[in-house]
Structure formats: C-alpha cells, structure tokens
Amino acid sequence: MAVLLLAEINGGELSADQTGKAVTAAKSLGDVTVLCASAGCADAAAAAAKLDGVAAVLCADDAAYGNGLAEPIADLIVSLAGDFDHIVAPATSNGKNILPRVAALLDVMVISDVTGIVSADTFERPIYAGNAVQTVQSADAKKVISIRTSGFDAAAETGSASVTSVDAAGDPGLSSWVEDKVQASDRPELTSAKVIVSGGRGVGSEENFAIIEQLADKLGAAVGASRAAVDSGFAPNDWQVGQTGKVVAPELYIAIGISGAIQHLAGMKDSKVIVAINKDEEAPIFQVADYGLVADLFDAVPALNDALG
C-alpha cells in the first residue's frame, strides 16, 4: 500500500507542523510519498524530506502551483495517482479546496476531516459540528482523505528521504491569483501553538481585543476568536476557532468572554487544559472548562496579566 500526501505549502514555505501531523496519521497506511507542489519547491521539498515517516518526496516546480489554485494542483495529483492507494492531505483550507476535486476526477468519494484511521479502508470523522463521530468504510479503489491534524503528533525532523522532481501537469487556466492578505505576526500559528488565548463577543470591540493580545503575548500564545467576535468585526477571520474556522488542541486554551456555542466547542474541546473566564455563570463554556472563573473579563484579564508577572 502506498500513500501520496500533499504537503501544506504557503508562500513557498513548508508547514512542517501540518504536513508532519498528516504524515503521522498516514504512515500506518503504507509508505508515504510527500508531494511538494509550488513555484520553486526545492526548499519545501528539502524540509519535507526531513520529516520522520516520509519515504520519498516528489517536487513539482511550476508557477501554476505557487498560490494553491485548486485546478492545476488537482490535475497534478491525478497525473501521479496511478501508483498510490491513498491520497492524503492535511484538512487545511488548501487541502479542503483541492482534495474533493481530486476525488471527483478519480470518480471516488472524498472523506474529509478524518480524526482516526481504523484500517486501510475505514476511518473516523466528526459530523454535525462534532456532535457525533462517524465511522465510514470506503468501497472505492483509491481512498482520498483529508486529515484533521489537531489529534495527531507532529513528526520529528530527523529523516532523510530522497527528493525526485516530477513534471508539472499543465495549467487549465481557469483561475488566476490576484492577491493574498496575510497578517504578518510574530505570534505562533494557531494550529500549532502550545497556548491559545481566545476572545469572544464579550470582549466588545476591536480595540478591547488588545487585552486579549497582551495576555497572549505574555504567555507566548496564539490569539484566537469565536465566530461571534469575527462576525462582529472584533478580530480577523483567520483567528476563528470552531467547526468552520480552525480546529485546535493546545496544551492550554483560555476562552475569554466566549459563551461556548457548539460550533466553537467543536474547534477547541480537545485542548488539554481549558480555562474559561466569563461573567455569565450559566455559559456553556464552563461545562467543558477545567478551570472556570466567573468574573468580568475587564477586571480578570488585566489582573491575570499582572499575576503572571
């Protein structure tokens, strides 16, 4: 059994965290070949070759792959698919954009957001915003699956797989990249952070989010937000934690002014330790929190900031 795993690459740089966690999940299925598709993919390929559990790396270097457009990358994967039984990617926005397209081109059913691999054809995945876990068995010849990475360990970087160049598969020219608006930040990435401080509707405004950010910086944490906070314009969309945002599982998750709607819990309930600060003692977030503090966040958060020295 052989696995083709699409590496997570943004701006030419490999996400060793997302790619490595997907490798950890996929290596029980067989030898893992990582595909790096990018404009100038040598650096990403070299980084992927170091990930533990990677048997080989394929490097597809073409301008068409530089911005993650689904059509050319899906065509590339299909052109390579013949040798593989499983086609895997981390369930990032890239993976979710590309893999269903690959599956349809191969006439197989995609299996999204896999949280557990039971056997070569049987997988566990959350449904109904995490309110149920479904076990599905695929009858398709090839399995196309995206991995929800939060439940898998990062891969160590002690490997030394070989890197081979592969031909680009052409660009159907259906879409073109215009621009990326990515916020530069010195904070850790949400999906790989050990500590996350998240704010919700209770924070009240974009300006008030500064106290969330201060606490995050003191803890060396990433900043998250609930959907309500993002919808209200307090925080950018890429901070959203939840079923339709990012799914995270840090060592410590501090939820501030977050009521704990089901779709938010779906994105963070696998965190190791959860702290909730909310003035409403009835808030559902307290039902999943290890430590709850019923208090006005505008008193408690600065006090916590001070107490941490």
Partner: protein, 253 residues
C-alpha cells in the same frame, strides 16, 4: 445570466443532535429541518446579483427526499424564480453523498446552462465540504471556495476567499463554481406575501434515473457514536487561585 443554487435540507442548526443508542446514526424523525445555513447565504447572494441586474434567473435545486419541497419553497420565497427537486431517497435518514449530488448537478447544469453555480461551502450535517469542488471538477469549470466577497464582471468574477492565513483573492473565468462562507452576506427572511407567491412558482420533480445517475453510496457508515465527553472542572474564586491551579495542578504555565 442564469444562476443555479443547490440547497440541502438538514437538521435545523438550533436543534440538539441526538445520536441513536444503537449506533445507527442521528435521529431525524420528528426533528425540525431547515435549509442548510451556508446554502441560505448562497441563495441570498444569487438574489443580490439579480437585484443588481447581473443575473436574470435563479434556479434552486435540491436533491434528497420529497420533503425537500419545503426547502425549495423557502428558496422560492426568498426570491428564486423556479425550482428543481430530484427525489433520490425515501427515508429522511438517507444522505446522498456529495459525489452523487455533484453528478446530478452536472447533468442539470448541462441542461440549464447557468453562468454561475453558487453553493454553501459545506452542509452542517455531514460536514464533508465537498460538493462544490466535486461539481467543478466534473464540469471542468473554475472553482472558488469559501467566498467572503464576490464581484461578477462579464466573463470573469473576482472572489475573495477565507483561507487559513487570512484572505486570498482570485479571478475565475465564467462559467464558475463559487462556494460561499459565513461572512459573504446576511440572508433575508422571506416576507409573508412572498411565501404565498412562492407556492405558485414552478417546482419540477425529477428522479436520478431521469439524468442517468447512479446514487448508490461509496461509503458505508458502520457506526455513529457520541463524541467522548469532557467533564466540567472546578470554578475558581479569583485570579490568584486560577494562576496557582495552572502552575501547580495543571503545570501548563
């Protein structure tokens, strides 16, 4: 330009999901069902494009059970012009897989020849996030997923997408598939006069056989279980106690 908007009938997003004790799925008998919230956003966007003079006709499509008529009537009451219902199952618990849905939608698109197909990015029941991408692949059309802004300009459209790193803007050639995210718009409520008017709008009923599509599932659901629970912890009195617990008990700071 004609727009096709596929809509799915799902459990209402306010209803608490109950997993059947025998592991045989989620209980949908006598449960309130509604239009998938992401699909409502797609319908709303189609209506706004029509109000802006970009779109001439909105065709809503639903695939599932006979009761999906209600979902389509909602789309018609919001402002869709006509509807197509493909009855592909008798039991409300039968979920037609995205691949089969995409094949049916491809056949419908070839008949209707829309310039744009707007879909919700995922359905809140199976959370598969696949139908739009699969349809795009089968039609060989351009694909823009997770849209938070959409501007149609003649033979192309500019779409801003919500991605992990922030926002990405791409330009797609028409005809195009666009799947919509939460922040594209806020769907309107249908007014009572429009609900009455919707009852007289055309709604065609079809079957998968009419389109020569096999909807047999590729995935067998062997088990559906409750997620592992998480017990509530303790309420601390103040910030000092919280810091002490995090340091000494949990050891995370």
């Amino acid at each position: 330009m004609k727009v096709l908007v596929p809509v799915k009938r799902v459990i209402d997003y306010n209803v608490k999901v109950r997993v059947k004790a025998d592991g045989g799925g989620v209980d949908l008998a006598n449960v309130k069902m509604s239009m998938n919230p992401f699909d409502e956003i797609a319908v709303e966007e189609a209506i706004r494009l029509k109000e802006a003079g970009v779109v001439s006709e909105i065709v809503a499509v639903s695939i599932g059970v006979k009761q999906n008529q209600e979902t389509l009537r909602t789309a018609l009451a919001m402002g869709a012009d006509r509807a197509i219902l493909v009855i592909a199952a008798e039991d409300v618990h039968t979920d037609i897989e995205p691949l089969a849905v995409a094949k049916l939608l491809k056949a419908i698109a070839e008949e209707e020849e829309p310039g744009l197909i707007l879909l919700g990015k995922q359905a809140i029941d199976n959370d598969m996030n696949a139908t739009g991408q699969m349809l795009s692949a089968l039609l060989g059309w351009s694909q823009a997923t997770f849209a938070s802004e959409l501007a149609v300009e003649g033979d192309s459209a500019t779409v801003t997408r919500e991605v992990d790193g922030g926002l990405q803007t791409i330009k797609v050639t028409m005809p195009a598939i666009v799947t919509v995210d939460l922040r594209l718009n806020e769907p309107r409520y249908a007014s009572l006069p429009n609900i009455m008017k919707a009852k007289r709008k055309p709604l065609d009923e079809k079957t998968p056989a009419d389109y020569g599509v096999d909807v047999a599932p590729r995935l067998t659901i062997t088990k559906t279980a409750e997620p592992s629970g998480r017990a509530a912890g303790v309420i601390v009195a103040d910030v000092a106690e919280l810091v002490a617990k995090l340091k000494d008990e949990a050891g995370v700071i």
